[in-house]
């Protein structure tokens, strides 16, 4: 198994190379440069040219690419033009914030969606099922930003149940329980919003998996043993229906990492998504390219993670 994982990681290297090349080419097509934003009637055009020269803007593209990728491989993604600090440092903190937010979102998402999907599938066509399906359609129909704004307005500004910016209260010492709770508390509202928006897919998927499983031959065999129906569900139907959900876990987590753009921006949560939007508006290339590369890397990692999870939960799949 470890050999296979190592091999998969090695295969990721050429994939990452192609990805980085694509990102680099796309970035070079983007209009303007970070200095365009600095131009004012008073600015000296010669000074700007000097800056561009110094930053290597006039080197051939392959030289630029080579410099970028060699540095990137060493964790040096250059400096953010707007923040004036190393991109790696800038992203580091943000990525961690986003990671925790995504993790909390996934946990909440499954806490809400799995019971609902299971109930809807088990009690198919009953009032309960119809209510859950209706809920999932509504959560599907609401655009992210609308629900985020409503929640932010109601629970953040009207009722003051949740903080509306930042990631932690500064009054706590780092590492204390109060500090950790405060971090979670700050993540809670965006995470709940995020989780609710993600439930639709999981509920619908699980519901139809359960309905399909009910008519499977092995369920008939289980019933023919004369065991209580709740056992038929818990040991046979649910186990098999949850399998694909577990298998998608890897993708779900990385999907959330990449999908956090709206949520973080609206909730003022300083994560990668928010940083991404900011860097696009300020044309902070080195940050954008680093972020896209990171997201690409995470997607590859997600698929590896999914394969590993799959091999653990499904006895038919063994990677060795």
């Amino acid at each position: 198994m470890w050999k296979t994982i190592l091999r998969r990681v090695l295969v990721m290297i050429p994939q990452l190379f192609v990805l980085s090349l694509l990102i680099f080419i796309l970035a070079s097509f983007m209009p303007g440069d970070p200095f365009t934003g600095l131009i004012t009637p008073e600015s000296d055009p010669n000074r700007l040219e000097e800056l561009r020269e110094a930053a290597g803007f006039y080197d051939p593209w392959y030289v630029q690419y080579y410099n970028w990728i060699v540095n990137a491989a060493q964790g040096d993604f250059g400096k953010s033009y707007t923040y004036k600090i190393a991109v790696a440092d800038l992203i580091g903190d943000r990525a961690l914030n986003t990671f925790w937010l995504s993790l909390l979102s996934v946990v909440l998402l499954y806490l809400i969606a799995i019971p609902l999907g299971v109930l809807a599938g088990r009690y198919q066509d009953t009032f309960l099922d119809k209510t859950i399906v209706l809920y999932s359609f509504i959560s599907y129909a609401i655009p992210t930003f609308v629900l985020s704004l409503i929640f932010l307005f109601l629970f953040g500004y009207q009722f003051h149940w949740f903080p509306t910016t930042g990631t932690v209260d500064i009054k706590y010492d780092q590492g204390s329980w109060g500090y950790i709770w405060s971090k979670i508390y700050h993540m809670l509202l965006p995470a709940i919003t995020y989780a609710i928006l993600g439930t639709t897919g999981v509920i619908q998927y699980l519901r139809s998996e359960i309905i399909d499983s009910k008519s499977m031959d092995y369920v008939r065999t289980a019933r023919s043993k004369g065991i209580p129906i709740r056992k038929v569900y818990s040991k046979h139907i649910f186990r098999n229906s949850l399998l694909p959900i577990a298998a998608f876990l890897g993708f779900t987590i990385t999907g959330l990492l990449g999908g956090s753009i709206f949520i973080e921006t609206i909730f003022g949560y300083p994560g990668m998504g928010q940083l991404f939007v900011q860097s696009i508006t300020s044309r902070d290339y080195s940050v954008i390219t680093a972020l896209v590369l990171l997201l690409g890397f995470l997607t590859l990692l997600g698929s590896l993670l999914s394969d590993i999870i799959m091999s653990i939960v499904d006895p038919r799949i063994r990677i060795d």
């Binding site: 499977m216 031959d217 092995y218 008939r220 065999t221 289980a222 019933r223 023919s224 043993k225 004369g226 065991i227 209580p228 129906i229 056992k231 040991k235 046979h236 186990r239 098999n240 399998l243 499904d314 006895p315 038919r316």
Partner: protein
């Protein structure tokens, strides 16, 4: 020896299709005796599986209506609710299914799947159950049972999986075993092994077996008595020797003719064309087979065909068999 184990009287099992119930089993009456292997034959779609699953109560009550009498041990199984049925299913009646590749839970170890029924129908301890599982695996001829209980279904061949399913069915020593096409999905050599196993188990346990098949070769090999089904009804029933030497109903005769004979000089087989009508299109009055033998005049059929006992234990539905000849053959008394 002649004791009746299971008596079915006028059983109707209907499936709901667009708010109307259509009977797939349409007035079946039959008995299973102790120590007997009763075969039920017929083309696919004539209601054999529906009959089997009605006996063991596997239908979804929201979409299926089971009416009539299925008497077992003083109980009418057709009236039992899910909880009460669970005391009969697995314990008194075991079932073996057609496709061993899909009939086992892919995520559960073999041992656990066999043990499940034992948990609810016996009060054996955990260790005793494991011993019993190992015993069952040996009984159904699985080598290295100690290893197999830890394995998952995909690690076993089709034949081995069918043996596991048989082990599940007999785990609580049921009085009745229903086997729905237990060998259809298997290779010919494996088929013979599984049939031998069934015969041995029957002899060992004294259970009554209902064997569903569309293969007359299988019937000849194992059955004591045969019922032939067509379109939800039994159209002929007889002890196996009688049926093979003296088949009467046109449908039965056609089934026999559809088996290719190795040493037949006559290579022109007389087979009746056509298919079992679908549930919705099935005519519910008159002789159901008449549409497939249009060269037989209408007056040869009974208006409401019933089973007639033409010799002891040999029942045939309708009167058309008396006037039947294959298409193109010289006709009988109606010219």
């Amino acid at each position: 020896m002649t004791g009746e184990l299971l008596t079915i009287k006028d059983l109707h099992t209907g499936f709901r299709i667009k708010d109307t119930y259509y009977d797939a089993v349409d007035g079946v009456s039959i008995t299973l005796k102790k120590n007997e292997i009763l075969a039920i034959v017929g083309e696919s779609g004539c209601g054999k599986s529906t009959l089997a699953t009605s006996i063991i109560g596997l239908h979804d009550h929201n979409k299926t209506k089971v009416q009539g009498e299925i008497s077992y041990n003083g109980l009418n199984l057709a009236l039992l609710d899910e909880d009460n049925f669970n005391k009969v299913r697995g314990e008194e009646i075991g079932m073996i299914f057609q496709d061993p590749l899909s009939a086992l839970n892919p995520l559960m170890r073999i041992g656990e799947q066999i043990e499940e029924g034992l948990i609810y129908h016996t009060n054996l301890s955990k260790d005793a159950r494991e011993k019993r599982v190992l015993e069952l695996l040996s009984q159904v001829g699985i080598p290295k049972p100690k290893r197999v209980i830890r394995q998952f279904p995909h690690q076993l061949s089709g034949g081995m999986r069918q043996r596991v399913i048989i082990a599940i069915a007999i785990s609580c020593k049921p009085k009745i075993i229903i086997a729905d096409e237990p060998t259809t999905a298997l290779d010919v050599t494996i088929q013979a092994q599984i049939l031998d196993l069934l015969i041995d188990l029957q002899a060992e346990t004294g259970a009554g077996i209902i064997l569903i098949t569309h293969d007359l070769g299988v019937v000849a090999e194992v059955a004591d008595r045969v019922a032939v089904m067509y379109a939800g009804q039994i159209i002929e029933e007889a002890p196996v020797d009688e049926l093979f030497s003296n088949p009467q109903h046109p449908y039965t005769r056609s089934l026999f003719n559809s088996i290719p004979q190795m040493n037949s000089e006559d290579d022109k087989l007389q087979v009746i064309q056509g298919l079992v009508p679908s549930l919705v299109k099935l005519p519910r009055t008159g002789c159901r087979f008449s549409s497939r033998i249009p060269w037989i005049p209408a007056r040869a059929h009974e208006e409401n065909p019933i089973l007639h006992e033409i010799s002891p234990g040999h029942l045939v539905r309708c009167t058309c068999w008396q006037h039947f000849h294959f298409e193109g053959e010289r006709g009988g008394s109606f010219q």
